[in-house]
């Protein structure tokens, strides 16, 4: 177990390094964007005086490294600062959005992970059968349409017929049940988008093992094909499967801007685009860090799970 803790510690340190690099990259990129927050806020009506007044007010006149340093020291003390545009604490701005994003990600994961694992295992079991080829072709078709296209089609079929709402409204009175119902279409869209990848990888990981001597051994022990796949192949295919699931979960958290826009879902992606458009750099930075942390943590979790499920790593002699 100590090895696991050491690995976790090491990965967390690397994760911190990654986050630092990201914050520099994002800050640098936003600095390079033409225009600044003052211009965006004042828009066309900006005059030199109002611009200068607003810049002074927002602290935009400090040199970039100073602003970065101020931001970084703030973050290290747990203070993400305030949004320049709205002067609200970023934690408040991001808080509910983060919750929404996580909800949608989990919802989609709850639909897609079991589905794709099931399909992947069945496709591996019945490889080269009609089922295998059909599910493969369908999965490929689903990922080869743009996300918004899939979303519109689902709206056409499932929302215009009155089965599900075409957009998500989250108010104080929204219960989890309501939300599960109203967020079904976005979750389904995301499910269609990520299932193919996970399913194909599951299938490939299992089939990859089917040529192993221990699989032949299991068959020679008279085990049924189902038992061979489930009991002998799947436990050994867990590492690649866990990794691909983690990768897709990270995508579900960080990459769903388009789905948010189509279903008017108040998530972090839309907030980040808004912040980029308005050059609200502290908000961009905060969300970039949240996304990156999700990515780093999920990868860490995948590594830990791969280790825990692999006896060769867990039970060293």
């Amino acid at each position: 177990m100590t090895e696991i803790w050491r690995m976790i510690g090491q990965r967390l340190l690397l994760g911190m390094l990654t986050l630092f690099i990201i914050s520099v990259v994002i800050f640098g990129a936003t600095e390079l964007l033409p225009g600044d927050l003052a211009r965006e806020l004042l828009g066309q009506s900006a005059t030199e005086e109002t611009l200068a007044a607003l810049r002074e007010q927002l602290g935009l006149n400090d040199p970039a490294p100073v602003r970065y340093w101020n931001w970084l020291t703030g973050v290290l003390q747990g203070d993400f600062g305030v949004s320049m545009a709205t002067q609200k604490p970023i934690s408040e701005l991001v808080g509910t959005r983060l919750g929404n994003t996580l909800f949608l990600a989990l919802y989609a994961a709850a639909l897609s992970v079991p589905l794709s694992l099931l399909l992947g295992v069945l496709a591996a079991l019945w490889r080269n059968s009609v089922f295998d080829r059909a599910s493969n072709a369908l999965a490929l078709t689903a990922i080869s349409f743009p996300e918004f296209f899939v979303a519109y089609i689902l709206i056409l079929w499932l929302a215009q017929t009155g089965l599900f709402p075409s957009m998500v409204r989250i108010t104080g009175a929204t219960t989890t049940g309501d939300l599960l119902y109203s967020a079904f279409l976005p979750a389904l869209t995301l499910t269609l988008v990520v299932t193919a990848h996970m399913m194909r990888m599951t299938r490939a990981a299992i089939i990859n093992l089917l040529a192993s001597p221990y699989i032949e051994m299991a068959r020679l022990k008279g085990m049924s094909p189902m038992r061979v796949v489930l009991h002998h192949a799947v436990p050994n295919a867990l590492a690649p499967i866990i990794n691909v699931v983690a990768l897709n979960l990270a995508y579900l958290i960080t990459g769903v801007v388009v789905v948010e826009v189509v279903f008017v879902y108040p998530g972090l992606g839309q907030l980040m685009i808004d912040a980029v458009t308005n050059r609200d750099i502290p908000v961009v930075q905060a969300i970039a860090l949240i996304f990156a942390s999700a990515y780093v943590l999920l990868n860490l979790l995948a590594d830990v799970l791969s280790t825990v499920t692999n006896p060769r790593l867990m039970h060293r002699t």
Binding site: V261, V262, P266
Partner: protein, 520 residues
Amino acid sequence: MTNLTFPRGMTRRGLLKGGVALTAAGLILPAHMALAQTEPKKGGVFRVGIGHGSSTDGYDPGLWDQLFVQTFAAARHNYLIEIAADGNLVPEIAESWDSADGATWVFRIRQGVSFHSGKALTPEDVVASLNHHRGEASTSAVKPYFDPVTDIRVDGQNVVVTLNAPNADFPYLMSDYHLPVMPGTDGKIDPTSTDGCGGYVVESYEPGVQATLNRNPNYWKPDRAHFDQIVLLTILDPAARLNALMTSEVDTIDQVDPASISLLESRGVAKILSISGNAHYCFPMDARAAPFTDNNVRMALKYAFDRQELVDKILAGHGSVANDNPIGPANRYFFAGMEAKAYDPDKAKFHLKEAGMDKLEVTLSAANAAFSGAVDAAVLMSEKAAAAGITITVDRVPDDGYWDNVWMKKPFCASYWGGRPVEDQMFTTAYQSGASWNESFWSNEAFDKLLVAARSELDDAKRREMYQEMQRLVSFEGATIIPMYNNYVMALANTVATPEKVSNNWNLDGFRCVERWWFA
């Protein structure tokens, strides 16, 4: 992503006294637009899907810039003066207004109005609200309105504003959406407060997502604000807006995608409200930069494309052909008889030859941030111009940062104007030499002289003549291509009823759909 819009609407030149009707602005309702005409009924939850709004939207009225915050403001605030659906100024918080010389304006503040918080509205609140936009430190977009203001003071129930020079249009300025009356404390308003004296009280607001407001039970206007509750929703994606309307998630949407209008109508689930006004799309050329310095080049370009095609394809017919004239058919002195410019490659070639060229190559920078369909419009122009030996290279630039990096920076780009009810305002803002928003950098001595003279001319016939001459100058010598006037196109669920006249001064009935409309 975000369609950036900017404060463009201005005021209608008026008389010195409040309450008197002007010549009615043309409100053109298409024949098929027979909207439900019943007595307003109270009740219902009115949900509006708006194609604007960002999570960075602030509360500060000086920074409001798009339809979501504008409509949200109109729902919770009142202004000194309202522009009625027919274009007339009508009293709101100011019961009446008066000026002896056009330089000192006296606004009589209505009594018995209270804010949502229960605080009674006083003239001091009005002064605080106006002063928020005035002075060195102000970051308000309408700060220039107050540059000529030397003094704002309370005189009993009156607020007296003193200008350094006469301005007969000043009451129009006071109807601007940036200038709601907000509660003041020690002469200052709290710009982050949502407290107002409008028809609805804010229940919740998430910038970039939604605002929910309930009817103000103490609203002083008895015949307004009919809904029990209104919900304003930011729905940026045009298809998502359509879907929301078709699946009855919302009752009204703005900015209907032109391609969908006829399809939506044929479905019968909603009705289209298409309001023509003075809003127009345009392509300014930098008159200081070659080859646009030569009016023959500008004329060649003006003849080199098909205006009707743009109206048909970009606006899906919901608009009308403009003759490079920023003054629209809804204006008083609109020059309807001006020689029209049809698509005429030969004339374009002729003008090119006059300019000493036989072919012309220009780059047109466009983004849909300028107006929806700007890039397509540019492509259509480019296609048609080829026949005249003109190569227009369409440079699609990012929406993001369009107004900072392209507009008034690139020599030939796309732009739009919300239209001004007053000719002087339009010309002064965008066509007078050296005006800060003179996007074409056009400078014409005769035009400038006429503009000043017309402002003080009181004879209506003479004024008409002067304004028409100015329109001719802009159209035939100016540096802005104005191919079309665009309608405001909204879609309404069949249950939504509107008054017979819907304002063409801004979208969504001058932002006041929440106050003026009702469920049939």
